[in-house]
Symmetry: C2
């Protein structure tokens, strides 16, 4: 079974972006060993909005990795496909269920909540790595929404950073 | 200046109670040294809903401490005053501004968000001690709402507990 990891940053009050989708309030986190996480990651899962946001950053940062982009649009916007490892799909749950059964490195759930929630609701995310920024935004785009029932977690570890970011690592609670 | 401390527990997604105000999803936290915090606390601030919830627990747990209960109801429900250290008021900001100038122990902001938010918006809470429960509720009564602008924080410390609860301690960010 491959590991499906949600690695994401949010405000203390659980927003991943402000109301307009901006993330300029994020602190830089030089100390965080993201490269080592990325090196172990083969496959990315993200919503279409997140995909377009990443494209907006300029050069595609995930060269060589398989990247599923979920959208309800049909036909899929193939002209937005910047390389042949980008796969458009409208079925985050089905894709993830299949991927888990294969072999390979980490499957990284990048965001946003439109794909996080169905995967969490189905119990398909095995680990949550949530970096909490030292800020209360008050409003914005929530990390979690449309969660159908309580999801119990086990805290595995935590790591404070100089910047005031704290990363919390949870596994799904074993009954 | 007296210290005004928000000490509260919430779910990972920032709810202090479920939609019906229930908190039966809270884990017990035997290890947490709440008694030592309470011993340093002279004054409690809480909203009227929180007050009625505490009354519902049975014996008043804060005997001997001054307790301000904030309500917009007028005249104040004096028949709910269970001892002469309970003070009803409709002005959380004014009361807190006055208390800070005096001398004494900790001022504990107990909750809920109807008093937390105006105090945070005015910069009157000096320390936040937030115990994050290892659960995603998906919906409920939010800890933070009606926050008018970003509130930057400094992470002071964190403490993991056996139960999976993690307590994060923040101070207001010094500009």
């Amino acid at each position: 079974m491959r590991e499906v990891i949600l690695l994401i940053t949010c405000s203390l009050d659980g927003y991943i972006a402000d109301e307009n989708g901006n993330v300029d309030w994020l602190l830089d986190e030089d100390e965080y060993d993201f490269d080592s996480f990325l090196a172990k990651t083969d496959t990315l899962l993200m919503g279409h909005k997140t995909y377009r946001q990443v494209l907006g950053f300029g050069k595609w940062p995930y060269e060589g990795k398989e990247c599923y982009v979920f959208t309800t649009r049909s036909p899929y916007p193939e002209d937005e496909k910047i390389n042949d490892r980008i796969i458009f799909s409208n079925d985050p749950v089905g894709v993830t269920e299949n991927l888990i059964l294969g072999t390979g490195g980490f499957i990284w759930v990048v965001g946003g909540s439109s794909i996080i929630s169905p995967l969490l609701n189905k119990g398909l995310i095995s680990e949550l790595r949530i970096a909490i920024q030292p800020i209360i935004l008050g409003k914005g785009i929530p990390l979690f929404r449309d969660i159908r029932k309580d999801i119990r977690l086990d805290l595995k570890s935590s790591q404070e950073y100089e910047s005031g970011i704290i990363e919390l690592v949870y596994h799904l609670h074993k009954k």
